[in-house]
């Protein structure tokens, strides 16, 4: 294993960086998209509810690989040429946003209905009630499951390996083929993923304890 780090250190580091970059971008946009669709789904407007439901069901129930391939193969054929990294990051964002939407929605629904009614009858609009009363309380319920979603997202970023995204997994495949040392290579890769995911898991657990 040490030999792999010595010989392929710069490749591994590059892949590690790409994995983190992709994860951070996807996490940011998936969180925004997911929260928007979660809020749309609990709005009183039936049409918005439907739209959001359709979005969530589509992206939650198609394999990540298929979504990514559509962006890697189909989109460049008809629209713009995008790199594997971009295609993979878009796929990962959309896929994860559907799960995050479901998580956030469950959080919103776990806030007592009386909180919204109290705010509405106090004169606040639906938007104000959400912003000042319901969402801050939902946030607390959402932290633990959201942490799981974040870890899943980072692991799922290995999808980039399929579309030449030069991430950790991609570099791993290249190094394994080059060095003919598959076992140590993939062990290195595993350790590098753990370096990202374990601190995140611990941080989320810490946050959960702090909030409760």
């Amino acid at each position: 294993m040490i030999e792999i780090f010595q010989n392929y250190g710069s490749d591994l580091l590059y892949g590690f960086g790409q994995t983190i970059l992709c994860s951070v971008i996807a996490l940011f946009f998936a969180l925004i998209l997911g929260s928007i669709f979660a809020i749309l789904e609990v709005m009183p407007n039936k049409l918005l509810q439907k739209i959001s439901k359709i979005y969530i069901e589509i992206f939650r129930n198609i394999p990540l690989l298929v979504i990514t391939m559509i962006f890697y193969v189909v989109v460049p054929m008809y629209f713009v040429k995008i790199s594997g990294f971009v295609a993979g990051t878009i796929g990962l964002t959309l896929y994860s946003s559907a799960f995050i939407a479901e998580t956030v929605r469950a959080g919103i629904l776990s806030v007592d209905k009386g909180q919204m009614e109290g705010a509405l009858s106090n004169g606040l609009t639906f938007k104000q009630s959400m912003r000042y009363i319901v969402l801050p309380q939902a946030f607390k319920y959402v932290i633990p499951p959201l942490g799981n979603q974040f870890v899943n997202l980072i692991k799922n970023s290995s999808i980039l390996a399929f579309v030449a995204g030069f991430d950790l997994m991609y570099e791993g495949n290249v190094i394994a083929a080059d060095s003919l040392k598959s076992i140590s290579t993939y062990m290195c890769i595993g350790v590098l993923y753990l370096i990202i995911t374990l601190p995140l898991s611990y941080y989320m657990q810490h946050l959960e304890r702090k909030l409760s």
């Binding site: 109290g118 509405l120 009858s121 106090n122 004169g123 000042y132």
Partner: protein, 247 residues
Amino acid sequence: MPMIEFKNVQKYYNNFHALKDINLTINDGETVVLIGPSGSGKSTLIRTINGLEDIQSGQLIVNGYDLLDKKTDINKIRKDVGMVFQHFNLYANKTILENIMLAPKIVLHREDEENKRIAMELLEKVGLASQANKYPSQLSGGQQQRIAIARSLAMKPKCLLFDEPTSALDPEMIGDVLKVMKEIAEDSSMTMVVVTHEMGFAREVANRVVFMDQGTILEDDSTEAFFKHPKNERASQFLNKIISHED
């Protein structure tokens, strides 16, 4: 002038006919108590007044706004019509003071200094000024309900709706809440609609009593007449039961 006017109002939950042909007028400054067995539709009725429940047909006019008119901005009604709930519904993520100051600040854009002064005055009025910086979960039910009333009053409403405000309280807490409600009722400009099982309160404070059963208004009479001689058979049965229970 009528504050609240129901004309042939019908309300359905899917196939269940919750409110049947409701006709009811409540005038400015009046205190009206709604009574009836559980499931009679009194809570549903009071919740239609500020649009927490929608109605399917008829006409409901509150403070000059038609609730079935799509152009009506429901928030304009809610600004002037406060509500107090059975389970208080104080904001769990805000302190007592913040609970009272939030809506005046973001809905009425009241200046911070004035907002705080009014909030503290109201806390004095309900006898809880010392609790201003606590969170709702740190207070007893009776205290929370008095805060909820103060929160509604901070909006300077024209009308207050009370949906079983004492039903979730321990018996020794009820008196303090009723006392605050009586003080509000004595202010003749405030319109009050109260769903309650507190007959003593009804007799003492209400101008009128409305009796409901199975989604219909069976009797609507002055308080004195209602308690002396309920005209409706069902109302008289209900009254006998509840009063013999109280004694």
